[in-house]
């Protein structure tokens, strides 16, 4: 069972920096551990699930500050032009969709066919996902300059 979550971790560790580089021209590096991204502006979590031979969900945790920056880069606009949390939510939902879509493609190619759920986004303060039993969990930390990004992987046994 551990091999499956390790494989998912490996796919996510490859996908996140690549997608940040290709989509946002931004470098993120893997790091051993990081605090839960949060700041006075709040926190945002984007998530997309996959269902099939491999069933699970990937959450991306970002501070609102970092999410706003990512949104501005994605849309090619100044941060001051990012209007409201909904625009940020849409961009982070799409980013999560691209990351998990990439991971899902590799899972399918590796003989674990599955389908994606639509993306969802949660905004707030001090948010944390609790996994139910019968679930394997892994947290991967990334860093871009002073920003942190956590990817939490949940995989059903």
């Amino acid at each position: 069972m551990n091999e499956r979550i390790q494989y998912l971790e490996e796919l996510t560790r490859e996908a996140v920096p690549r997608i940040f580089r290709e989509l946002l021209s931004m470098e993120v590096q893997f790091e051993e551990s990081a605090p839960l991204p949060d700041d006075p502006t709040g926190q945002i979590i984007g998530s997309v699930g996959f269902i099939g031979d491999a069933t699970g969900i990937i959450y991306l945790y970002l501070s609102m500050d970092f999410a706003r920056h990512i949104t501005s880069v994605m849309l090619g606009i100044a941060e001051s032009e990012v209007d409201g949390d909904e625009m940020v939510g849409d961009a982070i939902g799409e980013l999560s969709n691209i990351v998990v879509g990439s991971v899902k493609s590799r899972l399918c190619d590796a003989g674990q066919p599955c389908t994606l759920t639509i993306p969802s986004v949660v905004r707030g303060r001090n948010l944390k996902v609790e996994a139910a039993s019968n679930i394997q969990r892994k947290v991967i930390a990334f860093r871009n300059s002073h920003h942190h990004l956590l990817a939490e992987l949940l995989l059903k046994n």
Binding site: E86, N97, G101
Partner: protein, 374 residues
Amino acid sequence: MSIKILTVDDSKTIRLIVARALKPFDCAVLEAENGVVGLAVASREKPDIIILDYTMPVMDGFEFLARLRSDPTLKATPVIMLTAEAGRDTVLRIAKLGVRDYLIKPFKGELLAERVGRIISLNPASSSPEKHKRFDDPISILVVDDKPAIAGQIKTALADTAWKVTSADQPGQALDRCIENAVDIVVASLSLPNDGAYLLFQNLRGFAKTATVPLLGLSVRTAAAEQARAQQTGFASVVTKPIDAAELKSKISRALRLDTLYKYFQQREGALSLRLPSEIHAEVAHEVSKNLESQLSAVVDAGGDKFIIDLNEVLTASIPVIETTASAMKASEKLSLRCAVVGTPELIVQCKVYEDTQSWVFANSYDEAMTLLK
């Protein structure tokens, strides 16, 4: 602009990225947020190409394609599919659907434009500078509000302009009006029943003729949530009630990118004059400061050496007046232009009181200022 490109995607972010990628080309980009809306827009507008998302709620890309292919009038429309999934099975499935091309997200805007350009002929948008209307040109404004008094207030606020204000009390009526007549800008109440203003926005974006008509939202000052929603939807701006005539004019000017510079700047006899209005709102200060440097450089390039700041219309030496005038003086000093200020005797008296304005060189008229600077 005869080429029509339809982007069908539930993500506004992706629709914006697609629209931005195609902006340099002579085409109209129509938007739909799901397959159902996409089919309706496609059957009405007959786009030259469709850029279609693979995973969407309501109706996904597969079902959309199947329905598109079963419609005799649309089945030949080329489709480029966008997908976040690059797996072999997905790619094979997409290929079997008969799409002309597909792109794996993330993709660069240039790549999308290149792929679109392989299928249909994309010409660069006109390289000649876009001709914008002037502030004093006639403009057609449609006010959409179920309270007739609001349209009356807007007419009154704009009575001193050459702009024509008409009104509609329902979004459906407004849409028909925009399709039938040339409407330059729509001002819609955000509190219309059943999200009428937002539906109107979506409907306008789905017609080639109205896809670029800007919308201003009307809202009470305290309704922050609906104002944020309007900005998110893509409204050009929000005008708050009670209506301030200067704010309304400024927001309409910005939404339509009207040429307003002639109101402030004028070049004659080797001098640049900057005329400030009686009240300086944030928008006026922004517009003046944004263009000041280029205007000053232009007069220097033309061999001029004088700068006259005309405060004849200004009644009070308010902080915005002082700040705008002082920054204009500073900018002219950098270019070694000689500067004088024209003002009424009342204003001159006020300026003598303040430390920041005591040293300003005043003249009573433009001609006197020119003589002073000789």
